[in-house]
């Protein structure tokens, strides 16, 4: 569910912007990574959780899954103008893949209701890092604006 005090930070890169999240598990860290990305586009906490969509993703590793997860949310925005602010998801480690399943909730982006900050083109692999040890997950990645 949406955290009222989402735990993410931005850091500077010359052309674009970096995102850092620290949580005690991978699922929460993925949720905050998504909130941090979409919060660059609009004030994400204002997006009402009115519409529900199902997500099912499977990738070869955590890095691929993060890439696919953020990409999925950007696809929803461009193709359906749908922006999700709450995520009821779980991440499972399978034998040789990782999967993310669950629901996302949000609203159709409407310029009359929601503000607009900047466009996010894509997530990049550049300097992406996912550290998972001692019950702390730290994710860093750069998005292309």
């Amino acid at each position: 569910m949406n955290d009222n005090n989402p735990n993410f930070n931005y850091y500077d890169t010359t052309a674009d912007i970096g995102i850092e999240v620290i949580n005690d598990n991978l699922t929460e860290a993925f949720k905050n990574s998504a909130l941090a990305t979409l919060n660059l586009i609009t004030d994400i906490e204002k997006i009402r959780p009115k519409i529900k969509k199902e997500v099912n993703l499977e990738s070869e590793d955590e890095y691929g899954l993060l890439y696919d997860w953020i990409t999925e949310l950007l696809i929803y925005l461009d193709s359906e103008r749908f922006m999700a602010s709450e995520y009821d998801i779980s991440i499972t480690k399978n034998e040789d893949t990782y999967s993310l399943n669950g629901h996302i909730l949000g609203d159709t982006y409407d310029t009359q209701i929601y503000n607009y900050k900047t466009e996010v083109k894509a997530i990049t692999y550049h300097e992406m890092s996912i550290e998972n040890k001692d019950n702390t997950v730290k994710i860093r990645f750069i998005v292309d604006l």
């Binding site: 010359t14 912007i17 609009t42 990409t71 310029t111 466009e119 894509a122 992406m128 292309d144 604006l145």
Partner: protein, 482 residues
């Protein structure tokens, strides 16, 4: 770490890092810079040009242009050519916004003619041309129609009433890259692209009404049909979500190849595949689709630009002389022939934030321009000058016929927002008499002119180094920003 300290000056505007600087370099790294920029360039950007110099099959040199800045994997403002027989293809060497590019439309108007109508023109353009977040195009494509756009590019737009047949003559590749195969484009990329066809987007994309300022080369300006005080319109946009997704999908695939072939890549974002591999061929077919989408997009925007001028000035676009000067792609990979030593070799030239700058005599250039070299369009940033240059023989010898593409960012977006307020920037522009209309207030601050390297320096360096020739300056009068 390899950095500024390793730059060796070759001549004015040209520096090089020899291939001995790092043991994995296959060729030298050459960077086109003025002396001042050589002292301030980010080491990260230099490292990226060096990293590219390590890729399999790279020819002659890895190139950084005067507007170079730190990107992902490849720097932005970079060129690399790979031999057809043993080279690689890298989606990161093109970038997310496939065929992001610039189109310049001429008019037979002067500033004086349009001065009384400036606000109306800007309002009309802003109303007619969708821009901003997830901006939707006006044409509602059917799922089946998108494939025609991806295959036929600007030709599709002309057939559907967006523009004049003659426009095609003045687009790189005539607005249609061959080999495009929509089967290689994922449903996701198509879904992102369908609603956005015919939209400007956001960020650094813009449309500007400009007037010609200084002319540096009368003969070439005349050849291009440009004269002092003439009003022109510059469109800067690309392939929108469709292109971003094509790049994202293929980076994923190439990442798997790099793992499978145990390529020892200095950076995961450099993911690439041998040219003859299935993955590389699929990417090229998909990238051509993205490029065609972008040419269609700019073609539609050009059509609405003509309509906007017609509506406000109550005169038809033809009698206003609204002909296309040229359209250049600055994020693309192309199969070209270049002289490597004494041999004419087929190479795949990756231009990421780089403009093709083919010199006189090249058959790829429209007949009218062939004696003087192709027009090179270098946009400035919001409120600063843009430039027309011409391709040169020097560029053919040195940079695989390439030059800079713009100003190049020097200040991060958040840094720009800390330093400037949107109101300040708006006032600065209006003090200069520039009319601005934008969707996003934060974008105005992020795109503040001072967040970028001075474009005047960029074009001067390109001219000094000889990789393109200054022709004319363009001064902004009205800006539409996403």
């Amino acid at each position: 770490m390899v950095g500024k300290k390793d730059l060796e000056k070759i001549r004015d505007g040209v520096f090089e890092i020899p291939s001995s600087a790092r043991k994995d370099m296959r060729v030298p790294a050459r960077i086109y810079l003025d002396d001042e920029s050589a002292k301030t360039i980010e080491d990260g950007a230099i490292k990226q040009v060096v990293n590219v110099a390590c890729l399999e099959g790279i020819q002659k040199r890895s190139i950084g242009l005067p507007d170079i800045h730190f990107g992902y994997g490849f720097s932005i403002g970079g060129v690399a050519a790979f031999a057809e027989n043993n080279g690689v293809i890298s989606p990161g060497g093109v970038g997310f916004d496939i065929n992001c590019g610039v189109r310049l439309i001429k008019t037979n108007l002067t500033e004086e003619d349009i001065k009384p109508y400036m606000q109306d023109l800007v309002n009309e353009l802003f109303k007619k041309i969708p821009s901003g977040l997830g901006s939707k195009g006006i044409k509602h494509l059917k799922e089946t129609e998108i494939d025609d756009v991806l295959i036929n590019g600007a030709q599709w737009a002309i057939e559907n009433g967006y523009g004049w047949e003659e426009d095609l003559k003045y687009l790189e590749e005539n607005g249609c890259m061959k080999g495009a195969n929509p089967e290689r484009v994922s449903t996701k990329a198509k879904r992102r692209g369908i609603p956005q066809l015919g939209s400007l987007g956001s960020g650094n994309h813009f449309l500007e009404i400009q007037k010609i300022g200084d002319i540096y080369d009368e003969t070439i300006a005349k050849n291009y049909g440009l004269e002092k005080d003439q009003v022109v319109i510059l469109i800067h946009t690309g392939s929108r979500g469709c292109g971003y997704q094509i790049c994202a999908d293929n980076l994923r695939e190439m990442d798997k190849v790099a793992k499978r072939l145990k390529m020892n890549l200095p950076d995961r974002q450099l993911a690439c595949a041998p040219i003859d591999s299935e993955e590389a061929q699929h990417y090229l077919q998909a990238m051509a689709c993205g490029a065609n989408y972008a040419w269609t997009n700019r073609q539609m925007i050009q059509h609405w630009t003509r309509e906007s001028f017609e509506n406000v000035l109550q005169q038809d676009a033809d009698s206003l002389g609204m002909h296309t000067l040229y359209d250049v792609a600055h994020n693309i990979v192309k199969r070209e022939k270049h002289k490597i030593g004494k041999i004419n070799k087929t190479v795949y030239v990756h231009r990421k934030g780089a403009t093709r700058a083919f010199g006189p005599g090249q058959k790829e250039i429209p007949q009218e321009y062939r004696d003087v070299g192709q027009p090179v369009l270098i946009p400035g940033t919001m409120g600063t000058c843009s430039y027309v240059l011409a391709g040169t023989k020097e560029a053919m010898k040195e940079t695989f016929g390439s030059t800079a593409h713009g100003a190049g960012r020097v200040l991060s977006r958040s840094g720009a927002k800390r330093e400037f307020t949107p109101e300040e920037i708006q006032k600065q522009l209006s003090d200069k008499g520039i009319v601005l209309k934008a969707n996003s207030q934060p974008v105005i601050a992020e795109e503040a002119p001072n967040a970028y390297k001075n474009v005047d320096t960029v074009v001067k360096t390109a001219d000094t180094a000889g990789i393109s020739k200054l022709v004319a300056q363009m001064i902004p009068l009205g800006v539409i920003k996403g």
